[in-house]
Amino acid sequence: MKTPGCTGLVLDEKLIFEHSDPGRKGYSLPELDVPKAALPSSLVRDEVSGFPEVSEVDVVRHFTRLSTWNYGVDSGFYPLGSCTMKYNPKVNEVAARLPGLANVHPETPERLCQGALALMYELQGALAEISGFSAVTLQPAAGAHGELTGMLMIRAFHEARGRSRRKVLIPDTAHGTNPATAALCGYEVVPVSSDGVLGADAVAAAMDEDVAALMVTNPNTLGLFESQIREVCDIVHAKGGLVYCDGANLNALMGIARPGDMGLDVMHFNLHKTFSTPHGGGGPGSGPVGVSDELVPFLPVPVVVREGEGFRLEYDRSHSIGRMRAFHGNFGILVRAYAYIRSMGAAGLRHASEMAVLNANYIRARLEGTYHLPYPARSLHEVVFSDRDLQGGCHTLDVAKRLIDYGYHPPTVYFPLVVKGAIMIEPTETESKEILDEFCDAMIAIAGEAAEQPELLHEAPVRTRTRRLDETRAARKPRLKWKG
């Protein structure tokens, strides 16, 4: 079987602190052209103890070697479910580094940063069109930050009407950020069980006038479209509640259907998922939020508005929830997302969603006989299997680790929580049929190994620089910094 996994020369590398040699330097500064100045000695520290003393070459080689121990989308297939690990276009990286975009100070007077404001205004408009919402704020720095922004707006909306509601309904398939966010807004979380798809009956049974909002993800984390969403929204609205949508899975729907048209009131986007901006090893992301008409007054400040031919930042908005961070948003990420939308156009975005859904369904068709599929409804952009039928005492974690030996990044594992031993695969649209076939061949081979040579799974990975790591030891006696 053809797989990308192979072994090559792996270079070892110490901690940067272990390279340190007194007197070595990795920087250059111009000679000081003004008189030296001093602060009162009571304010001044000794040298920063522990800081490394290394040359530029040391630093370059160090981080280059570290990079080779990583696996990114550019290394190969990265089907991490719910994270939409699509290809990150290189022209977007060039765009974000244009000096006129990368070097603008956030406090530049508005009349001198019209280009930046125009880009933000255009991007707001494009996201509103794609999602069907009335207005979009670009301020939040990530998806969870967008959730907090959206849920604070919901709470502010209720407070403005003199309602003190205490509860938020959250389906059992939700991301952990949903309940954590609701709690940050002072709400009590009420779980709603779903049978794969959220039923209007279940929501009706849980809904009352003490419920501020329902938080849904559509398509949900099982990769299923919430087909009763319209009815669900009607039920929540009838009792005065609002519906929050976690937009993590918008990659299934661009140009197909719009959350704002389904009755949803607020949604965050993940520009680092749907709109191709890099995940950066854990961020920076960007989490804009779209809202329906009645929530527009509560948007965080500042809001980018058009005024005649120009643009400005509007701060004076009496119902605003305030600001969620300093300055105006993760602008560098906004530039990349804008470049992506302008590259794709309407037809390109729709085609991306269609191919993302086709890829997930193709994987499902190829693996369905081998791995247990807990929910039979038609998948959209991702598919969730379980380890129920695995033999040889092997579990989801073993499959994940064995996939590494075959040369793949594993899928998301053990999430969503409603599926025991979940294996959540999201291929995205940027992978070809050949890649999917190779991956599926590997998954099928691994299931065979589980039955015949389970030790291959239990021992995996064996081709990486480090083998399975002792997480229990890390947590029991935390070592969170270099101790010299």
Binding site: P40, N103, H105, S276, G280, E429
Partner: protein
């Protein structure tokens, strides 16, 4: 589309394998009433060349330190970024990976974050730093919430000299958490007023929050603030918006701060009109289990080889859900990597030298401006690389006069401090030559007649 590899033949074969007739059939679960019945209304797609032209057009509409002399600071700083930083973070093994959930193929990210955490601990003088937060303001809000959890108290005293956007962010985060946020006045020296603090603090107080340096550039007496806070069982949160200062100033940890929340943009991260930046966050060892955010810890693998993993995850939302210490998931990983690379390059000598240059340049500028008729420095407290100037003719008039000479002379303070229409905040970094500072002084003087 060059990002999507499917040929017509691929699509046909794949549909057949799935067992449907058409791509449309894949969406059968989406009720037709919810389908969009028209194409999205977006501009026509652009090829790579025209796209870059369009972005260059937008870029040309913005002023930068190349088109103008810039003395803007106020939480975002124009420092030199060594070429190495962007080269290394452009290794796509770093920037196209995600959160290191699978440690065996993420050791690059994990070791780099471990080194970043170590560097932040060394700079702040605290025991444990997390893997990053969104920015300085949101990190400050997380610090306030952590202090409330740790002390089981709800009153927080926030210096009015703390960055105003940090104060506003704290207020948004705490809006529905039944917290009592109280402002502490600043005195004639531009530092937090110790008498006002002593008057407001009590045994209900969870934390005292102050900038270090503060928004006016003034170096707060953290040891004194810590002593007042600790006297009532409260924690001291130091918010560091300009961490280059920590190359020179006593570390907040050494002065008694319990939590340090700061903005790491100064460490090799482009200004980028306000983001992405880097929230850094550090606390004492005993509080580590109530910290927000991801933590990387050292461990060993099955062959006893040193390696790193995400650890203490039971604090986090994906395990703890509504009882998590924070809702944060994605952080600013690549920006933390930029900071780590920057700090390694600067090293022990460089972080000191760049801090000393900032101080020297700002002191030189203070001297030049204070000598001008019609201008004065209203605050007497010691400063690092920013300071407040008072102009007899009013801040707005001065700044617009400078702008005509292509000088961004500073930030008018009346947007955040109504009582300060004549004051503006000037920032001078190692990027500003003596010649530039002289030009600023001459331009200021030029308008007095």
């Amino acid at each position: 589309m060059r990002y999507i590899p499917h040929t017509d033949e691929d699509i046909r074969e794949m549909l057949q394998a799935v067992g449907v007739e058409s791509v449309d059939d894949l969406f059968s679960e989406v009720p037709s009433a919810l389908r969009l019945d028209r194409p999205l209304d977006l501009p026509q797609p652009l090829a790579e060349g025209p796209l870059l032209k369009e972005l260059e057009r937008l870029a040309a509409g913005n002023a930068t330190a190349s088109s103008h002399l810039s003395f803007l600071g106020g939480g975002a700083y124009n420092h030199f970024i060594p070429a190495v930083v962007d080269h290394l973070i452009s290794r796509s093994e770093f920037y196209t990976a995600y959160t290191p959930y699978q440690p065996e193929i993420s050791q690059g990210t994990l070791q780099a974050i471990f080194e970043y955490q170590s560097l932040i601990c060394q700079l702040t003088g605290l025991d444990a730093a997390n893997a990053s937060m969104y920015d300085g303001a949101s990190a400050c809000a997380e610090a306030v919430m952590m202090a409330a959890r740790a002390t089981r108290r709800r009153k927080v005293l926030i210096s009015r000299a703390l960055h105003p956007e940090y104060r506003q962010t704290v207020a948004s985060y705490c809006r529905y958490l039944r917290m009592d946020l109280v402002e502490v006045a600043f005195g004639g020296d531009g530092a937090t007023d110790p008498d006002d603090l002593a008057r407001l603090i009590d045994d209900e107080t969870a934390a005292v929050v102050a900038g270090y340096p503060n928004y006016f550039g003034v170096i707060e007496d953290l040891a004194a603030l810590a002593s007042v806070a600790h006297g009532e069982g409260a924690l001291l949160v130091a918010a560091v918006a300009e961490p280059i200062a920590l190359g020179l100033l006593k570390s907040p940890g050494e002065l008694g701060a319990d939590i340090v929340a700061g903005e790491g943009q100064s460490f090799g991260i482009p200004l980028a009109y306000g983001g992405p930046y880097l929230g850094f966050f550090a606390a004492r060892q005993k509080a580590v289990r109530s910290m927000p955010g991801r933590l990387v810890g050292e461990t060993v693998d099955r062959d006893d080889r040193r390696g790193f993993v995400l650890t203490l995850a039971t604090r986090e939302q994906h395990i703890r859900r509504e009882k998590a210490t924070s809702n944060i998931c994605s952080n600013e990983g690549l920006c933390a990597l930029m900071a780590a690379i920057y700090l390694c390059l600067m090293g022990k000598a460089g972080i000191r030298e760049v801090a000393e240059q900032n101080l020297a340049k700002a002191e030189y500028a203070k001297g030049r401006i204070a000598a001008l008729e019609g201008f004065s420095l209203p605050f007497a407290g010691p400063t690092f690389n920013e300071f407040v100037v008072e102009a007899a003719e009013g801040a707005a008039a001065v700044l617009s006069r400078l702008e005509e000479r292509k000088i961004l002379g500073g930030l008018a303070l009346d947007r955040h401090f109504e009582e300060m229409p004549k004051q503006f905040l000037v920032c001078v970094t190692e990027q500003n030559s003596r010649e530039e500072i002289d030009a600023l002084a001459e331009a200021l003087a030029g308008g007095k007649r």
